[in-house]
């Protein structure tokens, strides 16, 4: 009985010994080595960051001879720590922005400055061919987001060029990758003020619209919004064809099955990189567990064999019982 109690206790401990990181949905991972990188334009960029790098800035009012402190518009703040780990960290601010920004106060006409699009730099360039920017653009142009271009939607709404960093390809911790990616969607879809800039729709409470989803919090931590809200594209790593809400995946079996959709979306990159390890869709299990998609082939075979042997034993037993009964009747 002591052994039995110990076994139950052990199970209870590992089942209920919740860790803070499991609750928060964030886990440890090696941060990008920002110390090793020193931008060749650090000094030049600092003339911008001294005002735009934080929430507060100062300038000299030469007419009054005073120092004025003011708050920076939140959308104009680019934090150094985010910029210098972003994909564009080696850039000078004036690579993309007018050199006229050196003047303060900035000339008013700079507000009309045209902004580069992703394809302006990345389109048709062999260096970036693995990212298939052209295909991404094709996907995007068929997505619901593209319909909002006239309202001001662009690649930048999701991929701020000042802070965006490649995520899935460099992923060392899938939970963090999922959090990062979902925050891109939630930046507008959970902030109605921002959402209103692009749409006249009434405020949508996405927790309520997803209340049909069992273990909602667990799903939000374990998969990206785009798993269900985009159309699968085998040619690119991350599909950009965002579908209308009525075409979103709503059938559990799409993910919870042997041919899980997640193998062609969330786990596509890793499943290409790593081989399976005895579990069906084993790659899924490195970070999470999807009922119906993960099945241990060994346990499956063993259980079927045991079950088959039990049935066989019963059949043999029944035959012997019948034979014995016949023998007894014959006397």
């Amino acid at each position: 009985m002591k052994l039995l109690f110990a076994a139950v206790l052990f199970t209870a401990l590992f089942s209920f010994g919740a860790e803070a990181r499991a609750l928060s949905g964030r886990a440890d991972s090696d941060p990008v080595d920002t110390l090793a990188f020193v931008s060749p334009f650090m000094e030049d960029n600092e003339s911008c960051f001294k005002c735009h790098g934080q929430g507060k800035y100062e300038y000299e009012n030469e007419l009054l001879g005073t120092t004025v402190k003011a708050l920076m518009c939140p959308d104009q703040i680019i934090r150094r720590e985010d910029f210098y780990i972003s994909n564009h960290r080696s850039f000078s601010c004036t690579d993309c922005h007018s050199a006229d920004y050196d003047v303060f106060p900035h000339p008013g006409e700079l507000r009309m400055e045209l902004k580069f699009n992703c394809l302006d730099c990345h389109g048709g360039d062999e260096t970036y061919s693995i990212f298939s920017f052209e295909m991404i653009e094709e996907d995007y142009m068929r997505s619901v987001h593209f319909k909002l271009e006239d309202e001001g939607f662009s690649c930048w709404k999701c991929h701020d060029p000042h802070t965006y960093r490649i995520n899935m390809r460099d992923s060392r911790n899938l939970k963090e990758t999922i959090l990062y990616d979902n925050n891109i969607c939630l930046y507008c879809h959970s902030d109605y003020t921002r959402f209103q800039l692009l749409s006249d729709r009434e405020e949508v409470n996405f927790l309520k619209t997803h209340d049909w989803l069992p273990n909602q919090a667990s799903h939000f931590r374990s998969v990206r919004c785009i798993e269900c809200h985009t159309q699968i594209n085998d040619s690119i790593l991350v599909s950009h064809l965002v579908l209308p809400k009525d075409r979103a995946v709503k059938l559990c079996n799409e993910c919870h099955s042997k041919n899980s959709l997640l193998m062609t979306t969330l786990y596509k990159f890793q499943s290409r990189e790593k081989r399976r390890d005895g579990f069906l869709n084993g790659i899924i299990m490195n970070e999470s567990y999807v009922i119906g998609a993960n099945r241990n082939a060994f346990l499956g075979t063993v259980s079927q064999a045991i079950f088959g042997l039990v049935i066989l034993a019963i059949v043999i037993h029944v035959i012997f019982r019948i034979k014995t009964r016949i023998k007894l009747k014959k006397g």
Binding site: A27, S257, M285, E287, S288
Partner: protein, 205 residues
């Protein structure tokens, strides 16, 4: 002989229904597939039914444990430690060969001995080991946020699930054997009748 009081019969019937629903819905979830009709019940329905049934099973199990103590029924489960394996072994030998040679039951049912040693051992293992493990691991799966994230580098959720399905499988195997051995009474349906009426029909002499 009146051996099965009403509360046991009601609990047993409820438990049987719940376990069968849990097995069917559990298999449906484990073998769900979008491309073929391997699954028996749609995944979403299977999850809902599995969860609801499991909660009722937990309540039913607590009722069983309490009533077992209160009514004194627990004494029938008391295992003779000295003959922990020899007596069940004797019962197995009877099932495998003795009964075909016309031997008498080594441990006939009486008011003092409702279960033979093999029944006692398997019932104790199922009711006081497998079922608690299934319930504990089931809670871990129903509330993933309380399940440990990693144990020795492996997802705690996987370990919890493997424990859950392994115990569920063992209980399924037990159920099949249990139903079959219930045909080994005086007549093939005697023991089933006994669990409905409460009266045990004595074995044929």
């Amino acid at each position: 002989m009146y051996l099965y009081p009403l509360w046991i019969r009601l609990w047993h019937a409820l438990n049987a229904v719940l376990i069968i629903i849990l097995i069917i819905t559990g298999i449906s979830m484990q073998y769900t597939d979008k491309d073929s009709l391997v699954f028996i019940i749609d995944f979403a329905a299977a999850v809902k039914w599995h969860n609801v049934t499991a909660i009722i099973l937990v309540i039913s199990y607590i009722f069983f444990v309490i009533m077992n103590i209160v009514s004194g029924n627990a004494r029938y489960y008391r295992i003779n430690r000295e003959n922990l394996f020899s007596e069940p072994g004797e019962q197995i030998r009877y099932y495998v060969s003795g009964m075909f040679r016309g031997e008498k039951q080594p441990f006939p049912v009486s008011m003092e001995r409702k279960f033979n040693p093999l029944q006692k051992l398997t019932y104790v293992l199922i009711m006081y080991a497998a079922l608690p493990l299934v319930i504990i691991s089931g809670f871990g799966l129903m509330f993933p946020e309380i399940t440990i994230a990693k144990l020795f580098g492996v997802s705690g959720f996987i370990l919890t699930d493997i424990l859950h399905i392994t115990m569920g499988f063992l209980m399924t195997v037990f159920l099949v054997i249990h139903i079959y051995t219930c045909t080994l009474g005086a007549k093939p349906f005697s023991l089933f009748r006994g669990m409905i009426t409460g009266y045990h029909e004595p074995d044929e002499e």
